[in-house]
Symmetry: C2
Subunit: 592 residues, 2 copies
């Protein structure tokens, strides 16, 4: 059965050495001294390893059960959910006035990686509640906030997001669920929603659905969509739960993974709903939470890779098979451990350098969100808006690939469910799909974010890389291993952007055909930048002769691997992009 | 539910335009005229689409059931197996004297792709029987052949291969199953074997296990391994089934995929076994079938990609979502089909260009096997020996990736088991693992095959590419799109080989750290060569103004995509290889 050890040391390094949180002027950051974050991470790690991990494989095996409209979560989930609530984790970064702890989003992200790594299916119940609560917080009236938030912040009631319908996923302009205005100001919601994670379950007294629907007579397409609060049980003004509302789960889906989370078909049959935000502005309301939600999914992809990597290492050290070609390493045993073999190393180093680089990227992204929200920093807001599709698309694609590579270390045992490695890959797979499939992320990046505010944010990104390179120009220890590769990769990325500018105006397909490659290039350059920065920090730390020198030396060695072995992917992506749209668009649809 | 259409037209193109089988002097090839192969492929395709495909998803859902030592295959498998036997398909390329049809391996491969694509789990029952029969054919005494082969060629009795034990997979030198000689010349086999595909099931009267075991007192390690025939039921000299032998299935495994095939723990408890081939030469006996077995697994990887691709295209044409940015394509509908979107095209073209290029590679490999076996052509034998790890490793890695990409086209529906796209990915996943995990293929390629016979075969490969380029030097229509990219990729591959030669002697890890990248580079160059050749053939065909010009034009366009968008991967792999072993091997095991 897989194990999980929280990456507390690595997160502390990122918070204090890398992001230097206590030196930051972001409101709430000054409290984040090492002792404080250490204590938070320690506690969260304990919950993740001791409570959530043991339920991961059993939850996968057992799955959710649907019986007469009721969804039963796997054995142990309910108790674990109580412990999660008692620890106050669901409201970690939510406002104190509604029962939260008002911590930075950054801390929530660090803790969230642990919970997701330990048990993605379980953690989604509170993750979706967090998303729904954020929407109410951003767009609700005071009365709505007072009514719904306290119970949602504590996870006494959970939340969901209802977007997809059978005939429409990405293209929400097509949606058919309708919301008919009633005399009392409420609406009657009618329609069917699918793929609703945590749409029904047995761990909360009430479920607060946020539902996209169209008010008859409104504009066509996405401009006529509004957002509604539709509770499972109606709640009176005193907060007392009343009658069942006209919404029910019709079935739950059999899926490739995340079996512990109920993916529901939700049927709305004249259910009472309350408008959240402005009429016809539902898409805007949804999108204000998108950066957080998508960063959260990027985090899930990374988390599965992290958990899978840990277990791949355990097996690679334990399993005796073959001999080191350069000389026997385990003379007393019948064979050497797998980890002596170069190709196993290559595999593990791919994983390790991705996990640690991706974690830095994610934490940087979370800090940008805090800067945007807590300091109203427009530049940070623009930067995270640019990076969000990269975080979501790149970290989940690579996260899945790395979970698959981790599974490969186990050979045949990786394919057997008993060992748990298959589950990491199966659970990671959904992160590439939900919250906007990765092709849509690439479209968002190239079709929208690159040109946003006149291209200001992408220019700021390149400027940041340039400044870093300039500042460290004389650093001979970093030059060949870190600075030169970063420079080359960043040049590739700029060349791709240039290609889009030159050809995209005349033929949008020239840019869109290269969007997926661009997203991956961008991800590699971001991780290259993270590694170069971490290398600098590690180098500085080593100059002070720290007691944990090994940690920093390993950090440098891992970064060197990424720069030498992973970053050259940018050249391939550039070559593809430069080949243009012709070969992609040439065939008639009938020729496929 | 997924559909399957056999690629008859494409296979006919490969057999007749590309490989020009009837012009070949390989014994048995002259009979392969278009009418004959067309009829065979047509019949096989019908069985695949109409009988095997409908059982694929249901077999996955139902799985095999283990009850009191008995394994029950999913509903419908037994009937389908009878139809398969009645058609004579299991013995297609096996000798007539044992009831086979003695057709070339090439035809068996073409047909095998269809069966595997339609239902991999099901087709494994006969595939393993074929492997075991081939071993008996190559190493058995006449009496053994007469006793076992007729029933195995017809699949009245099925076969298995027993290599892995709980503590040893790749490193078979560690195996513990023992074979004690008896006075009557037989052996008593005792030990436990795991991951035995089709080890027990309800579709055959007897199961003939081929088992690797050690005769006490023999040499240590792989040099002391012998191969035994161990039937489930003993068989007397008249061929009558007698008493149950001392072998039983202890349990079947829960797996990520191939649920319709029973993966068994087999317990041998003093079971009667008969030596196959020479004492202590069991590994050699196993390895003589390795080229075929590994090519067969490469075929499975390709087959899953082919089936997944077909269904991705269906969905991409059917699902309406969003609008073509260059102008509405489906004005009467609420949205345009997915296939108008450049990134969906990119995804589908990746798949299509891999499937058709990979199919050509596979068929070329099968022809080499026929040349080696039917003509005793040593050069063909050397070439297929070199290419086998590439066919296995590259086609299964890419086959899995492409099945995952096909799943992605379906968005959320791809993750739901109901749509069947998850199964293609889950079933394809095993092909990267069994019959030698792909890391072991890379090791075989770089550590053994490159230097085999003084490097003769790899030099012959490069010579072949060079000759092709030379012969077509003046072909301006092929130059930029096909010849130049092939030349560049081949140069990258040679540079990598050069790097290994220069550094590998001093430090084997310098070569082994790059083995996986080399395997993928090699695969890309092979597909590049296949595409360049197919382009030439297509061009020539178009010069004759054929009635099916569209087929050849599509072939050219698909090839152009591969050369422009897939082949540039060689540059990335070369950069990784050239970075050497340092970053791969740098860390102490404890630092992971």
């Amino acid at each position: 059965m897989p194990q999980y050890t929280a990456p507390t040391k690595d997160l502390q390094f990122l918070l204090h050495d890398f992001l230097k949180v206590s030196e930051s002027d972001i409101p709430g950051y000054s409290e984040l001294d090492e002792g404080f974050t250490g204590a938070v991470l320690e506690e969260a790690g304990k919950l993740a390893s001791e409570v959530l991990t043991p339920l991961n494989a059993s939850g996968d095996r057992e799955g959710c059960r649907f019986e007469k409209g009721v969804v039963y979560t796997p054995k142990g989930f309910k108790d674990a959910f109580e412990q999660m609530k008692e620890g106050g984790w669901p409201g970690l970064d939510l406002p104190e006035e509604y029962g939260g702890q008002n911590m930075p989003y950054l801390v929530n992200t660090a803790v969230g990686e642990m919970f997701s790594a330990a048990n993605q299916s379980f953690t989604m119940y509170q993750g979706l509640t967090h998303g729904a609560a954020s929407a109410i917080l951003a767009h609700g009236t005071d009365a709505q906030k007072d009514k719904w938030l306290p119970k949602m912040v504590s996870c006494e009631w959970t939340g969901t997001m209802n977007l997809t319908e059978p005939h429409c996923g990405t293209d929400l302009g097509l949606l058919r669920t309708k919301a008919e205005p009633q005399e009392d100001g409420s609406y009657k919601i009618t329609g069917q929603k699918i793929f609703i994670s945590a749409g029904e379950h047995d761990m909360a007294d009430n479920i607060v659905h946020l539902v996209l629907a169209k008010i008859p007579g409104g504009p066509d397409g996405v401009k006529g969509i509004s957002l509604f609060i539709v509770p499972k049980f109606l709640v009176d003004d005193e907060g007392t739960i009343g009658a069942r509302n006209g919404v029910a789960c019709g079935k739950i889906e059999e899926k490739m993974g995340i079996h512990g989370n109920a993916t529901c078909v939700m049927n709305y049959d004249g259910a009472t709903g309350y408008l959240l935000g402005t009429e016809h502005k539902g898409m805007r309301a949804m999108f204000t939470m998108m950066n957080e939600a998508r960063l959260g999914v990027g985090m899930q992809g990374l988390a599965q890779a992290a958990a899978a990597y840990e277990n791949a290492v355990v097996y690679a050290k334990d399993r005796l098979q073959g001999r080191d070609v350069t000389g026997v390493k385990n003379p007393d045993g019948p064979a050497d451990p797998l980890i002596v073999h170069p190709d196993i190393r290559r595999n593990l180093m791919d994983q390790k350098s991705f996990v640690e680089g991706g974690r830095a990227f994610l934490m940087w992204g979370a800090k940008l969100i805090d800067e945007a929200h807590r300091k109203q920093d427009a530049e940070a807001d623009g930067m995270i808006s640019l990076l969000t599709p990269v975080i979501k698309g790149f970290l989940t694609d690579q996260g899945f690939d790395m979970a698959v590579q981790a599974q490969q270390v186990y050979g045949g045992h990786g394919y057997i469910e008993e060992w748990g490695m298959s589950q990491f890959a199966r659970d990671a797979r959904i992160t590439q799909i939900y919250e906007g499939a990765n092709g849509v992320q690439a479209l968002d990046l190239v079709g929208r974010k690159l040109a946003q505010d006149g291209g200001k944010h992408v220019m700021a990104f390149f400027e940041m890389v340039k400044t870093f390179l300039k500042e460290n120009e004389g650093n001979e220890a970093l030059k060949a291993d870190f600075l030169d590769p970063l420079k080359a990769a960043s040049k590739d990325l700029q060349a791709a952007g240039m290609f889009f500018m030159q050809h995209g105006m005349k033929n949008p397909n020239a840019a869109l055909s290269g969007s997926y490659d661009f997203m991956h290039m961008f991800g590699h350059v971001c991780l290259g930048l993270m590694w170069a920065r971490m290398a600098k920090v590690a180098q500085e730390a080593l100059d002070n002769g720290p007691s944990d020198a090994g940690f920093y030396e390993t950090k440098l060695a891992t970064g060197r691997y990424y720069m030498a072995r992973r970053l050259p992917a940018t050249g391939m992506h550039l070559a593809r992009i430069n080949s243009g749209a012709a070969t992609v668009m040439d065939l008639d649809a009938e020729a496929f």
